[in-house]
């Protein structure tokens, strides 16, 4: 019986099908472990070796890992919400209500909402930990810069998602937020230096081509802004963030793994 089981196992493991997927066999030596890491597109972003301190919760707080996990949760729940939500003035608000009232497991919307809040918080905690442990110091200074860009993208995801329920809170919050964009130097209609940009009496920056207009696709928060924010929220910003996350993780590995205690 035992030898028959081993034969079966052997025939599976030595089959072309098995070998075409698992190329190095059972990773029972250090060399095979390294090859298993390098031969896997997901694992190769991860360091081949992790220091003991790198998995020490009291040191890392796992804040970066929690952030990434929340990003995955938000991507999955967001994808589910996209099956029901229509980003138009006519439907957006009622679709949000229907998601809660009429769709089985409509709690997905709350998971997405609370996950989004949690992700913003965990990004800040991660940044705080990296700062307090001095992990931004050479050779990791470039990764800190990427991290700051990822922080901005997280906040932009939060900002664009805030409009989508299309209730009074959302509309006026984005009205206020986007009006701040009109204070952008040179590019915003009320920004410092914008008044200098004119040919004769004709102003080059107007309410139909300034930074606020580019954000909203209109002169006030309307149908254009809703669609624009939806596309940015669901496709544009997540794509850029996913790419930068890959770079972020890859650089952690290239810069010697998670920094250890002094």
């Amino acid at each position: 019986m035992g030898s028959r089981w081993r034969d079966l196992q052997q025939s599976i493991v030595s089959s072309q099908f098995w070998k075409s997927i698992f190329r190095v066999g059972i990773p029972n030596t250090n060399r095979k472990r390294v090859l298993a890491m390098l031969g896997n597109v997901v694992l190769h972003l991860h360091p081949v070796k992790t220091r003991k301190s790198g998995v020490k919760m009291r040191y890392t707080w796992c804040a970066g890992g929690v952030t990434f996990f929340l990003f995955l949760v938000l991507t999955f729940t967001g994808l589910l919400l996209m099956f029901y939500y229509r980003p138009t003035v006519e439907y957006a608000f009622v679709d949000i209500l229907d998601l809660r009232e009429q769709v089985p497991f409509g709690i997905m919307r709350e998971v997405h909402r609370w996950g989004a809040h949690a992700m913003v918080i965990s990004v800040w905690i991660h940044m705080f930990r990296v700062f307090m442990t001095g992990s931004y110091k050479p050779p990791r200074e470039f990764n800190w810069v990427i991290g700051v860009i990822l922080l901005v993208l997280t906040l932009l995801l939060s900002f664009t998602g805030y409009l989508l329920p299309w209730d009074q809170l959302a509309i006026w919050a984005i009205t206020v937020g986007s009006n701040m964009a009109s204070a952008t130097p040179l590019l915003g209609i009320q920004g410092p230096g914008t008044g200098l940009l004119k040919i004769g009496d004709i102003a080059l920056v107007t309410s139909t081509n300034d930074a606020r207009f580019g954000l909203l696709g209109g002169r006030f928060v309307g149908a254009g802004a809703l669609l624009r924010f939806y596309v940015l929220h669901c496709v544009g910003i997540p794509l850029v963030a996913a790419f930068l996350m890959a770079v972020h993780f890859w650089r952690v590995r290239k810069d010697g793994g998670i920094s250890g205690p002094m």
Partner: protein, 180 residues
């Protein structure tokens, strides 16, 4: 068996090696990179321009607001929802206030009991004249151009033309309609 080759390849930029000189290579590289940079720049510009449409489906800024005698003394909110305008009549004139808070763009409410405009977002308050007196608003509400049509005697309001209190423009003849 090693013997020196009869002719050494020249390092001079002007001497051709298989017809290619250092100078001609650089020339082509400059041309190619300039072309590539120009094409990239044009593509980026086109992408940016794509985000700014030529036609907006927004309500017109100029509208007819009915007969002047249809307005009683006080604040009239009939055009607030559609055009974002309050028509205000006092004993001597009618003027059009733009219903956009000058702080960060929310729509204030007219509070009849307290005789003031109050913004729900950050609490800016304005007198019935539009002059700010509380909250973060840095200046007065804007007034829009208001005229009486020569054809049918109706009020015509144009939101695209603004009159600012701090610039002393509220005394402009198009900033109000005189009432007897």
């Amino acid at each position: 068996m090693s013997s020196a080759p009869e002719t050494l390849p020249s390092s001079s930029p002007d001497v051709a090696l298989d017809g290619v000189t250092r100078r001609s290579t650089l020339k082509w590289m400059i041309l190619a990179w300039t072309g590539f940079a120009a094409a990239t720049g044009a593509g980026l510009t086109a992408t940016m321009r794509f985000m700014f449409p030529n036609v907006l489906f927004e309500p017109p800024t100029r509208f007819k607001a009915g007969d002047p005698s249809s307005y009683a003394i006080g604040v009239d909110e009939r055009w607030k929802e559609k055009f974002g305008i309050w028509i205000v009549r006092n004993t001597t004139s009618i003027y059009a206030l733009v219903a956009t808070c000058v702080h960060l763009g929310c729509t204030p409410n007219w509070l009849q009991a307290q005789n003031k405009f109050k913004c729900p977002c950050h609490g800016s308050g304005y007198y019935i004249s539009g002059i700010n007196f509380e909250g973060p608003a840095p200046r007065a509400l804007e007034r829009a151009e208001i005229q009486v049509s020569g054809e049918d005697g109706q009020i015509i309001v144009d939101k695209a033309v603004r009159f600012l209190y701090e610039s002393g423009q509220w005394t402009d003849p198009n900033a109000f309609v005189k009432m007897a």
